[in-house]
């Protein structure tokens, strides 16, 4: 099956600034693909080129096999879009907005089922401007779904939302994905990418600098997991022989085992505790995450 979105050597320049620099990308049927990077990295420019809002200086794009330059009208019929920093008419009600937007499309999802999917039923008659940020964003996502699109483009769907609303949005996107939709989302929250995305492309200064599953990206660091615990009367040297342990460090908060295979090491650690008669307390593990990946690749924190 051909990719839902395919980009080849996309480049876009504004004056001296190369916003998107030779990006090639494939997004496959049914996946949630995350484009992750700091503000100004080129995420929005890239997504808006794919949506047909901006014309690339160089490179080729295919969306559902169609060319945005030639078949823009057909692409618009078949994609759902959540833009950043846009709005709908402030005095329109949620229900009115859905009724309006669905008229623009050939395929129309019944308004009632959308209200249900997004749990917006009790706000159906509320004016858009009166809604909380989370509800406004949910309405905007509902509007992206009115045509039952094959692919969804969500530009920073949770930026500016409080943690609770963010979690609700994650659950919602999970439900939407289960309906077989392909989703391209951008975010500068690594946690969000880790939680939601099947694959993640890390973008910085207009270039994709890494692309893999979240797990694959973390593993690519060769990152070790740290197992920290306290125990009385334990022989640190003996722990060194546990499989996959690379280092044992005795610190303030107890002993730290660095391991390349967390599961095996934990099992053997418990067996060792039984065999040598020591008690493990305050056990926790610390693993590398996408923030560490970004830090390692760029030498910077993602939010600075």
């Amino acid at each position: 099956m051909p990719s839902v979105v395919a980009c080849r050597h996309l480049t876009k320049t504004y004056g001296d600034i190369v916003a998107v620099n030779d990006v090639s990308l494939d997004i496959e049927q049914g996946e949630i693909f995350g484009l992750v990077g700091p503000n100004g990295a080129g995420k929005t420019t890239l997504v808006e080129m794919i949506e047909g809002l901006r014309t690339p200086d160089r490179g080729a794009i295919r969306v559902l096999g169609l060319d945005p330059a030639e078949q823009r009208a057909e692409i618009k019929q078949r994609i759902g879009v959540l833009l950043q920093a846009t709005s709908i008419q402030p005095d329109i009600s949620v229900k009115e907005s859905l009724e309006l937007f669905r008229r623009f499309y050939r395929h129309r999802v019944p308004t009632r089922s959308l209200l249900k999917l997004l749990t917006l039923e009790e706000h159906a008659n509320s004016r858009f401007k009166k809604l909380s940020g989370g509800l406004q964003q949910r309405t905007a996502i509902a509007l992206a779904l009115v045509s039952n699109p094959a692919v969804l483009f969500l530009d920073e769907p949770t930026t500016g939302l409080d943690p609770q609303a963010r979690r609700n949005t994650w659950d919602l996107l999970e439900r939407i994905r289960q309906r077989g939709k392909t989703i391209l989302l951008t975010t500068h929250y690594m946690e969000e990418a880790e939680k939601l995305c099947d694959r993640v492309g890390i973008i910085d200064y207009g270039k994709i600098i890494a692309l893999d599953t979240p797990r694959g990206l973390v593993n690519s660091l060769g990152a070790e997991t740290k197992i920290v615990f306290s125990a009385e009367g334990v022989d640190a040297q003996a722990l060194q022989s546990i499989s996959a342990v690379t280092r044992v460090v005795s610190g303030q908060d107890g002993l730290a085992l660095y391991t390349s295979d967390q599961n095996n090491t934990l099992q053997e650690l418990v067996r060792a505790a039984d065999a040598h008669g020591f008690v493990i307390t305050n056990l926790r593990t610390e693993s590398a995450n996408l923030d560490d990946v970004f830090l390692t690749l760029t030498g910077r924190e993602i939010r600075e």
Partner: protein, 248 residues
């Protein structure tokens, strides 16, 4: 052109107009109050080219002009500028809605709102002052439609040129207020200083109100150049809109 989308958008925009206290005041309430107030205070016959009608009847064409002006300058221009500034236009742009459908829907919604304002004038005028139209109704309707097209084009032009919604409001006030004063609505232009008179004559509201008044009083329209003047403003508004319209 998607007819269902056109009607739905026009209908929604009409409802949104009706939810705006500002627009309800300027397009529906103010013209009626203006005609009613001055019609009641100066309750005497007005003679216009040897035809006499009461004061409210004399003010009716100007009130229609105010309805059209307010809807175009306060409704159309600020809606357009606000929608651009807040990203509503950009959001619509990623839907299959086309520019002609969008333009027509916005125009249609204002045209329906103007129609409501004019019907209100006739309703109150008829009940309170027994206003009459001595000329031809089809001509009156045609002049109203021509005036709507011209002013909506000018409103769209301001909405397109203005950098922000605030700027659109300021430009609108700078044009709307003096024009109501200078355009033959209640004070004959001949009372103004002679240097100001040509400017008054050239303003788009003057030919519209004059043509409407000629029709209401049933006197011959001698000055067909007024149609040309309106058409000229229609072209100016349309060209500026097409040239300067931006989605974001």
């Amino acid at each position: 052109m998607n007819a269902a989308a056109l009607w739905q958008l026009a209908w929604v925009e009409l409802k949104l107009n009706a939810r705006s206290p500002e627009l309800i005041f300027w397009v529906i309430a103010f013209p009626v109050l203006w005609m009613g107030l001055f019609g009641a205070i100066f309750n005497e016959e007005v003679e216009y080219f040897n035809v006499s009608l009461n004061q409210a009847n004399f003010l009716l064409p100007g009130a229609i002009g105010v309805v059209i002006c307010a809807s175009a300058f306060i409704g159309m221009s600020s809606t357009l500028a606000t929608y651009r500034e807040t990203g509503v236009l950009k959001r619509l742009r990623v839907t299959p809605l086309t520019i002609p459908t969008l333009a027509l829907a916005f125009t249609l919604s204002q045209a329906l709102f103007i129609t409501a304002g004019i019907l209100m004038l006739f309703l109150v005028g008829k009940l309170a002052f027994d206003v009459k139209v001595l000329g031809s109704w089809p001509v009156l309707i045609a002049v109203c439609a021509f005036g709507m097209a011209t002013f909506l084009a000018l409103g769209a032009a301001i909405g397109s040129v203005a950098k922000s919604a605030r700027a659109a409001t300021i430009i609108t006030l700078m044009i709307f207020m003096p024009m109501i004063f200078l355009s033959e609505l209640w004070m004959p232009i001949s009372l103004f200083p002679s240097w100001l008179q040509p400017i008054c004559q050239a303003l788009p509201l003057t030919p519209l109100v004059t043509l409407l008044r000629d029709t209401v009083f049933g006197v011959a329209m001698g000055d067909y150049w007024r149609f040309g003047l309106l058409a000229g403003w229609l072209v100016v508004g349309s060209v500026i809109t097409v040239r300067f319209f931006r989605w974001q």
